[in-house]
């Protein structure tokens, strides 16, 4: 009896090993990937800036690509950003589908928005795993595995517009010893300028780390011959703030204000005249004098209205002001 039981146990071990081996070969069990605790810990520490962790083709490996695409929050944000970028692209509304470029297309989230708007597109990305996810999702655009810092390799004047969602900031980091961010940005913008047709625009949604990065990107873009500037959505909110670099190619003189929708709170630093005007958001504010009497009596109606206005500017849902706002309630409240 004991012999038989021990035999059974001995049988179970190799069969379990066999199963796990075959499953890992097919890469269908993401559970096995989580054994890499080291990277997970690193990610926990520096989760807001992936470009500081690893080059994009290594950071976006298979498990990260799947996580990225299956997160509904990310899908929703990418869809919103792509819609806004398409809006800023200001394509003529004549119902003719255009041929666009999606730089850093990843798993095709932004590309799907382009297809929904009826245009054809080519997507570029440096991460093969992300592109594989895109293939699985059956995106409608053609995909290219290429490095945007090496130049785009497209013929002159063939692209009607280019968008890029959350990708260009990866160029500012040198991922290999042979990389020089300035030269890579130069190659990228130079080849982009060549392949865009006259009057076409390029809209990049970027997450620059600091002022220096913004300046670097803008300077290289202007040197390549682009005109345009930065459009900032929700500039007062740290969470919702999104920056779009809108570059124009050729001599179509439409101003950027025309393409803003009414409910968006956006400002732009225009650099059409060749100079860069970049202003830091954190301006030293004058110290507001505190009213001693005010502090004692509590916060009145004016203060409440001011706070509600601030919140509205940030983009939050705020009930409208009425005669009941900040009305004195009965003491039991």
């Amino acid at each position: 009896e004991i012999q038989r039981r021990s035999f059974l146990v001995l049988l179970l071990l190799p069969s379990a090993a066999f199963l796990s081996l075959s499953l890992s070969l097919t890469n269908s069990v993401p559970v096995l990937q989580s054994f890499r605790i080291g990277t997970a810990l690193k990610r926990f520490i520096m989760s807001s800036r992936p470009e500081l962790l690893a080059p994009p083709e290594i950071f976006y490996d298979e498990s990260e690509a799947r996580k990225y695409t299956s997160s509904s929050r990310i899908v929703q944000i990418q869809a919103e950003l792509s819609e806004r970028a398409l809006e800023l692209l200001a394509l003529p509304e004549d119902g003719v589908p255009r041929f666009l470029l999606d730089i850093g297309c990843g798993s095709g989230l932004s590309g799907e928005t382009i297809s929904e708007n009826g245009h054809q597109w080519i997507g570029l990305d440096i991460s093969a795993s992300m592109l594989n996810v895109a293939v699985e999702r059956e995106v409608e655009g053609d995909l290219l595995l290429s490095d945007m810092g090496q130049g785009l390799g497209l013929r002159a004047g063939v692209i009607d517009g280019a968008i890029s969602i959350s990708a260009v900031q990866w160029l500012c980091n040198a991922d290999k010893s042979s990389h020089e961010p300035r030269l890579r940005l130069k190659a990228f913008f130079g080849s982009l300028y060549r392949c865009l047709s006259r009057g076409a625009r390029a809209v990049f949604q970027v997450y620059p780390e600091n002022l220096a990065q913004r300046e670097l990107i803008l300077k290289q873009a202007l040197q390549a011959g682009f005109g345009g500037g930065l459009v900032v959505d929700y500039p007062h909110s740290t969470k919702k703030k999104k920056e779009f670099l809108v570059l124009t190619c050729g001599s179509v003189p439409t101003s950027i204000e025309d393409s803003c929708s009414e409910d968006d709170d956006s400002e732009d630093d225009d650099s059409e005249d060749g100079k860069i005007g970049v202003s830091d958001r954190n301006r030293p504010r004058k110290r507001q004098r505190t009213n001693e009497k005010r502090k004692g009596k509590g916060k009145g109606r004016e203060w409440v209205l001011k706070k509600k206005e601030q919140s509205r500017r940030k983009g939050n849902d705020v009930p409208h002001d009425s005669k009941y706002t900040a009305r004195k309630r009965k003491s039991r409240f």
Partner: protein, 164 residues
């Protein structure tokens, strides 16, 4: 009891091995089915040129097709008319021929044929441009001969360090 045990082991080993391999095969079959995907159409090939440093005549890339599939795409004549001016006709005809489609006329037709009521030319153009997909194969630079492999419809255009 000993001999009985050994035969038991053999049976169970065989069973688990069989089970694992069938799971593996099923998985592979699923991957094969899913791989009937798109990408790398002639419209993109017509725009791509070789980006290697020093190459002056990197367009058009020669197509070596190992696997070509045809997928239906909605016919949109406005788009075709818009793209017609940008297409390099010779490269398109060559590329279509390498993918197995020889219906396109050799010389670039003039623009009037786009506006004609007869849609045959537009249909042929649509088929060649948007419906032929190169799944496996390679794109070859005409000047240096460097091959850019195409896997699952995605061409690998990454350049090595010395080519940038």
């Amino acid at each position: 009891p000993k001999t009985l045990g050994r035969i038991n082991i053999l049976y169970v080993f065989f069973f688990t091995w069989f089970g694992c391999s069938s799971l593996h095969l099923l998985d592979l079959a699923r991957e094969e089915r899913e791989r009937e995907e798109r990408e790398m159409r002639l419209i993109t090939h017509n725009m791509l040129s070789c980006n290697i440093k020093g190459v002056t005549n990197g367009f058009p890339l020669k197509i070596e097709s190992v696997k070509v599939i045809e997928k239906e795409v909605d016919f949109n004549p406005d788009f075709l008319r818009h793209m017609f001016a940008k297409i390099e006709w010779k490269a398109l005809v060559e590329g279509a021929r390498s993918m197995g489609y020889a219906e396109l006329p050799e010389d670039s037709p003039d623009a009037s044929v786009l506006e004609s009521v007869d849609e045959t030319f537009l249909r042929k153009l649509h088929h060649a441009l948007l419906e032929l997909h190169l799944e496996e194969g390679a794109l070859v630079c005409p000047e240096t001969g460097r091959k850019f492999p195409v896997n699952k419809g995605i061409p690998n255009m990454l350049l090595h360090e010395d080519e940038v």
